[in-house]
Amino acid sequence: MKKKKSKLGHEGASALIMLIPCVFFLCVCSIYPICWVLRWAPYNYNGTKATFTGLQNFQRLFTDKTFWEAVLHTFEYAFYKIIVIIPLALIVTVLLQQKLRGSNFFRGVYFMPTIISSAISGMIFTFIFATKNGILNAILQKGNLITEPIKWLTSGDVVMIAVVVLSVWAGFGNYMLYFTSGMSSIDTGLYEAAKIDGANGVQIFFRVTLPMLSPTLKIVLQLALLSAFRDYEAIMILTQGGPGNRSMTMFLYNYYLIFGQSNSAQPQIGYGALCSLMAAIIIGLVTMVYLRVSKKLDDVI
């Protein structure tokens, strides 16, 4: 049998050698830590003490009401966030593209929340949403829109609204930037042609802008979806997942399991690793479904 000659050659060897550091860091900083965390799955491990529990953590995963409610809350949060943030970012982008006076100033103002740390914005909104001395309740009561202060952060009925408002405020500037970039690549000749044909502003938006933005929209939606499923920092500062775990999301629950929650729970690294794996599977499934559905957006063009 003829021996197959190596097709690597000198160039291939150089490329391989140059890849070694990257592969090394990928293994050490990514793959190894994931394997290290997952190996604690059959243990109750709090960072110092490990007690072997066998399949107990696996059984717990499927009966853990808090985790599965957190999954539902995550879907709920992602849904509300996306149906508000994407249209809002798109409308603001279109308005700012009209090159009205002050457009650049407002573009900067709308983008500023994006560069503020989630922890800081969470703290600020804690004061805004405070029941008694909160700015929001004060404005609503002064405007006679409410008679009693609303318990934004301590009532299970409205806490998700508060959390979504914060995430929209913090994130829509980012998506506005993506849409601005997408719109700048649209041929202005199309708008001129549409105007010549007698199209008004709304018709131009739905018949020209939106279809031409379709590739950008597809990517922005995917980013927004992944970001919404992974959000936890601001919720952690604002509500710590409360009241009664009503605003607890998947990633926030996993965070508390891995790192512990001050005064409430010690780290449960083994179980947290399993929950993280399940969260990754759920996000993977959602992404797969989205990619199938998003192909329809390509048919618009």
Binding site: I17, K132, G244
Partner: protein, 467 residues
């Protein structure tokens, strides 16, 4: 030529990466150099390092370290470092790099956090010094799992001071306006008083405020302790038992269901600031509030008082658990054990500890300090003085728990988010399962005190069982 250059660059990158990988440093040696325990010692001049996470008493400690450096007969120089955050991680990292200090501050979690892997057993040193042994009461100041590891039978530090149990801090004017000259002693009456204040406030101020940072511990747990109820661990039977909380939780639910409490639970400092602004009349915390309400967030708008928290029946039937403080440990890697011990003896000498308590940082723990201490010099710390119901409880076994701890679980029941019976049953199940698993694996010993008395929790005969 290009290929040679490419190859050389790649090789340099690879070598640079490998050079970054250090050989793991060996674990701390368990063969610590022996300290002298008898006769006149010869200590050569040396420099020792002392790390502490306590920052509230920085000025006082630094003053006395400077004094020790100037006046000690051995030429020992102490370099102190006041650590800011994550003290435990910094200590352990220092061991890995061979840069550990000689002395570190001890706390009520010394055994759990560091234990015999990192710290020297001080009992032989303490027992050999008659003055230290007597003043520090070394026989009776061994607290299991705090400074004493019963499995190894080693003591890693002795404590010099105490933070007494939680008290109620209150707005005297609002309480008087509600018709009360002093705080009610019975829980239901206390809640009624808070309700009256809230009703009088008409939304401008409330009767009581709770922080989001461990609210259960600051109120319900203290009420349970003082009521003589098993508040976590049943020392007589050697198991966890939270059943006694039911009547307390049922009462405390009124704070939320009847809208008595301030409607937000924010961080501790936020709530302190709101209390200082008169937003609510009753607050509950320990003696650190003196420094807070006099220096950090000074109360200028009203007179504030300090009183006892209520009990279930109005009678005090149990002690409040106090936090032991000002312990000093010698690390196993120290090469200057005798010098470190001289430093510890100085920092825990009578004059230094009495001065510390009179400066208002803590309350006296030992009788020697208590006898010499003048409470009138301690300012408002006098109002937090150790009462007949302030004691140090023996530590219960620290278990590897799944889920939320009892404080969070039971507070959710107070808030009305979960059923009280279900919450209590859940805590009993998880805690005792964890206890049995940890005893079976040999991680902990069961603590049993057959003659346990909640009024004198440290006085009983403690047994450590491996089943």
């Amino acid at each position: 030529m290009k290929k040679v250059v490419a190859f050389l660059v790649a090789a340099v990158l690879v070598l640079g990466t490998l050079a970054g990988c250090q050989k793991p440093t060996p674990a701390p040696s368990t063969d610590a150099p022996a300290a002298s325990t008898e006769g006149a010692k010869k200590i050569d001049p040396c420099t020792i390092k002392f790390w502490t996470g306590d920052r509230h008493d920085m000025e006082y400690i630094k003053t006395h370290i400077d004094k020790f450096n100037a006046e000690n007969q051995y030429g020992i120089k102490v370099e102190v470092e006041f650590l800011t955050d994550d003290v435990e991680t910094m200590y352990k990292l220092a061991y890995q790099t061979g840069d550990a200090p000689d002395v570190i501050g001890g706390s009520n979690k010394t055994v759990e956090t560091y234990g015999g892997d990192y710290l020297l057993n001080l009992e032989p040193l303490a027992a050999a010094d008659e003055t230290y042994k007597k003043e520090m009461e070394i026989e009776s100041r061994k607290y299991a799992y705090k400074n004493w590891d019963p499995k190894r039978n080693e003591v890693y530090c002795y404590f010099g001071a105490i933070r007494t149990g939680t008290r109620a801090e209150y707005n005297i004017e609002l309480v008087k306006a509600a018709g009360y000259d002093k705080l009610p002693t019975k829980l239901s009456d206390y809640i009624d008083m808070a309700k009256k204040i809230t009703e009088a406030g008409k939304g401008e101020y409330y009767g009581i405020g709770f922080t989001s940072s461990s609210p259960f511990e600051r109120f319900c747990e203290q009420v349970a302790m003082n009521s003589g109820i098993t508040w976590c661990y049943d020392y007589k039977n050697g198991k966890f038992d939270f059943s006694g909380y039911k009547p307390i939780i049922e009462e405390c639910k009124r704070f939320i269901s009847e809208a008595i409490a301030y409607p937000d639970e924010q961080g501790v400092d936020n709530m302190r600031a709101l209390f200082a602004e008169g937003e609510f009349a009753l607050w509950q915390n320990a003696s650190q509030e003196i420094g807070v309400f006099t220096e950090q967030i000074p109360i200028t708008k009203f007179e504030w008082g300090v009183g006892a928290l209520p009990t279930l029946t109005g009678e005090v039937k149990g002690s409040l658990d106090c936090l032991v403080q000002k312990g000093y440990c010698i690390t196993k890697t120290s090469k200057n054990i005798d010098a470190a011990w001289e430093f510890i003896k100085y920092m825990q000498s009578l004059d230094v500890l009495v001065g510390y308590c009179e400066a208002g940082y803590s309350a006296p723990l030992t009788n020697a300090v208590r006898d010499k201490y003048d409470a009138s010099k301690a300012g408002r710390m006098g109002e937090f003085q150790a009462a007949a119901y302030d004691e140090v409880y023996p530590s219960y076994p620290s278990v590897n728990l799944t889920g939320d701890n009892y404080r969070k679980t039971l507070w959710e029941a107070v808030l009305g988010n979960t059923d009280v019976d279900a919450a209590i049953a859940d805590c009993n199940k998880r805690y005792n399962e964890a206890l049995e698993a940890d005893i079976k694996s040999g991680d902990v010993l069961r603590v049993v005190i057959p003659d346990f008395d909640p009024m004198h929790p440290g006085a009983g005969t403690i047994e450590f069982r491996d089943k």
